[in-house]
Symmetry: C2
Subunit: 202 residues, 2 copies
């Protein structure tokens, strides 16, 4: 049995990010990542199911922040209001000083389709988990799914904006702005009778 | 140079679906898929970049259906109205007789995380492409992204419902219903001042 390595996942993630950014994702092996911080390949795979997963360490904390936001929403809050609380709670995980790290990580992900796939799926899984939490609060099946998916969409768009060069606003502010835009956009559409009253178009 | 095989991608997809459903995705190789319809591994990889991709043959036609819907939306339509047209156009690709095939395909995807990742990413790519088309029609950057992402969300939810056992409604009807639910949900939230007027909560 290998002994427990304190902080190993964090060290491995940091090393992986550096190596992926300098050498490229495809050109870096899990063994090289592990060795660069004095650990073994075996330790790497005890913490991560595959090489991609090292960039997603902390996903459980991220999802939990959304769930904490759902829990703290006032009783009687509408599904979208609950999601607004979840978004603000999640944003608190990304203080301004984390922006350079997030930017570097995203840049690596955007250069590799396999990492993009993993990321798309993580965002989809987040929406599924948040939808379950909404249903547990008594929100209808369909409304829960739509509200949670919209929350994941808003987070994704806001995060992309937050890491843009020159962006100064906090992730919380950007998230709130994007959510308001979504409500404005759909509010306009609701005012149009053609979508709301016509069941089918073809 | 291998000669051109008419209908090879369709035959490979059909064979792959059968083999994945009966033997399992992991237990089936690209060579076995190809051989089961009298083709070679080389032919398989001329059509598909990897084993996963065989289940996503036709994605370009699917994306084009959304784009056709965007094109045919009346001038002056709001972003969500354009997306409603795109959804109805996409739904026309899935007549009732295609339901058993779609159901079998989805069942295979749901049993394999690698296929789920590819699917999540395809849906994300669809949203990116539709957002570009909305921008080309003059829709604002953020509104285009939000409307396109919402369209992809509505499609995903409607499709999941469409392939449920016992579901009788057409995909067009379900899509219209899910979109109306989204508008109702966000319409209610717009009526609540707390989200629309408070820029930040923490």
């Amino acid at each position: 049995m290998a002994r427990w390595e304190p902080g190993a996942p964090e060290r491995l993630q940091k090393a992986a990010l550096e190596l992926f950014a300098t050498r490229g994702y495809e050109q870096t092996t899990a063994t090289e990542i592990a060795q660069s911080v004095g650990l073994t390949e075996r330790t790497f795979f005890r913490h991560f199911s595959d090489k991609r997963e090292v960039l997603f360490y902390g996903q459980d904390v991220f999802v939990q922040a959304f769930l904490d936001g759902v829990d703290t929403a006032p009783s009687g809050a509408s599904p979208i209001e609950i999601v607004a609380c979840a978004l603000q709670s999640a944003a608190s995980l990304f203080p301004d000083e984390r922006r350079p790290h997030s930017r570097q990580r995203q840049s690596v992900i955007e250069q590799n389709p396999a990492l993009q796939e993993r990321e798309s799926h993580k965002l989809a899984s987040l929406a599924t988990t948040v939808a379950d939490a909404l249903r547990a609060r008594g929100v209808d099946e369909l409304a829960a799914t739509l509200a949670a998916e919209s929350g994941a969409t808003v987070f994704g768009i806001a995060f992309t904006q937050w890491i843009r060069e020159g962006e100064q606003r906090s992730l919380a502010d950007i998230s709130a702005h994007v959510l308001r835009e979504l409500l404005t956009l759909t509010g306009k559409a609701t005012a149009s009778r053609s979508i709301v009253t016509t069941p089918t178009r073809n």
